[in-house]
């Protein structure tokens, strides 16, 4: 079994130690897109852009499901700083996740305006042994310079993935609810941890 966990830590920007740590929490959240992508690569078939075979992207439409023949790769999560298209994203939605989720309910935008957060780059670490587990950490830092406190209520993992030989879109592969506040002037690190035991 492969499990997905998540964790949020919040600290003052000028301090290393977090004053809030949610601890590792079990996600409930892999979506249809994840198995569709793994599936077409295992089977070396391409799926049509429909509900039976395709991937659902962030506007709710179906895209073709292309296996990996492109040099960008499949399921890339290494979004650059400021990119809210993919990687780990934060939002304020509160609706329970389902396997059919395809977009953040209410994405928190990149920026320093009211209600906005500064997105760092998403980091994917080399898998490593952790006790009896083997873990793949994916994390991203966020800072709040908006002038007000921001309460985060959803997180998602979006990946950058070719849906044809030359076209790329972002697809949600995990979605979770959580609840923590990043005070103005503070920073948060949010992690997804993929684990096998």
């Amino acid at each position: 079994m492969m499990e997905l966990m998540h964790r949020a830590k919040v600290r003052r920007i000028d301090e290393d130690a977090p004053y809030y740590d949610s601890g590792l929490m079990k996600s409930r959240s892999f979506t249809l897109n994840l198995l569709r992508i793994i599936g077409v690569n295992m089977t070396r078939e391409n799926g049509a852009g429909n509900s039976e075979q395709g991937l659902v992207y962030t506007n709710g439409n179906w895209a073709a499901n292309q296996n990996g023949i492109n040099d960008y790769g499949i399921m890339s999560a290494i979004a650059l700083a400021g990119d809210t298209g993919y990687g780990i994203l934060l939002g304020t939605g509160t609706t329970s996740p389902t396997v059919s989720d395809y977009v953040m309910e209410t994405l928190i935008d990149q920026g320093a305006g009211a209600g906005e957060l500064n997105y760092g780059s998403t980091v994917v670490e080399i898998p490593s042994v952790d006790g009896t587990d083997f873990v793949l950490p994916v994390w991203r830092s966020f800072s709040n310079t908006s002038g007000g406190n921001i309460t985060v209520q959803e997180i998602g993992l979006m990946v950058h993935h070719y849906y044809s030989t030359s076209s790329v879109l972002n697809f949600m592969i995990a979605h979770d609810l959580l609840n923590f506040t990043i005070n103005d002037g503070d920073a948060a690190t949010v992690e997804y941890l993929v684990k096998i035991s």
Partner: protein
């Protein structure tokens, strides 16, 4: 250790520990003369090994790293897809190909995260102790209530002249390096099984990947 579950049919409502997980299930059905004679139970897999996460890492990280251990025991570069490259490519293996896809073996050594090869693979063929490896049949992952299922099936025919007892199964993927064209095989999952394919019978061996929310 958590008890491994078995089911006649996988339930729509999974136990809580499966929620938020990608679980792996195995089933073996035996056919004789075109008829189902033994319907197996769904058994919880033991079963992803390190190479599975290494492969996922190369996707998420768009990376190329010498991390994975191939089926010969060598540490190899595993990479995100490039031209002619297929990450996780496994169940397109053609009939008679026993290098990758769903493979069977006779070793019953306990599964570990560091496994990289079946203990004792059963070779393709019709000689003693060999099985005829068929092609795979697959589906596109489908949602079903709170679950999504990806079904991978391979047929194995015993024309060896004797009965063959299977004690392990595995899922092996195939990569061709974008530069150099070197073929590499990586074990993604391994499970212990115990069933016999009588001479003349056909086994339908199934892996099912299931996400549950």
């Amino acid at each position: 250790m958590t008890e491994r579950l078995t089911y006649d049919e996988l339930p729509e409502e999974m136990p809580e520990r499966f929620q938020g997980s990608l679980s792996l299930w195995t089933r073996v059905n035996i056919h004789r003369d075109g008829k189902l004679i033994e319907k197996g139970k769904w058994e919880e897999g033991h079963s992803f090994v390190k190479n599975f996460l290494y492969t996922l890492y190369t996707c998420f990280g768009h990376a190329y790293d010498y991390l994975a251990v191939n089926t010969s025991g060598s540490v190899e570069g595993v990479e995100s897809p490039a031209v002619n490259e297929y990450t996780f490519r496994a169940t397109d293996a053609a009939a008679a190909n026993d290098n990758y896809g769903i493979l069977l073996g006779t070793d019953n050594t306990a599964v570990t995260l560091s496994d990289y090869v079946l203990g004792t693979k059963i070779a393709h063929g019709v000689a003693a102790t060999q099985l005829s490896y068929g092609a795979h049949s697959n589906n596109f992952a489908q949602p079903d209530g709170s679950n999504v299922d990806l079904v991978l099936i391979r047929l194995f025919t015993n024309s060896s002249g004797g009965d063959i007892t299977v004690e392990e199964m595995g899922l092996v993927c195939y990569q061709v390096e974008a530069v150099g064209g070197l073929s590499k095989y990586y074990l993604l999952a391994r499970d212990l099984k115990n069933f016999t394919i009588t001479d003349g019978d056909v086994a339908y061996v199934e892996y099912r990947l299931r996400t549950t929310i």
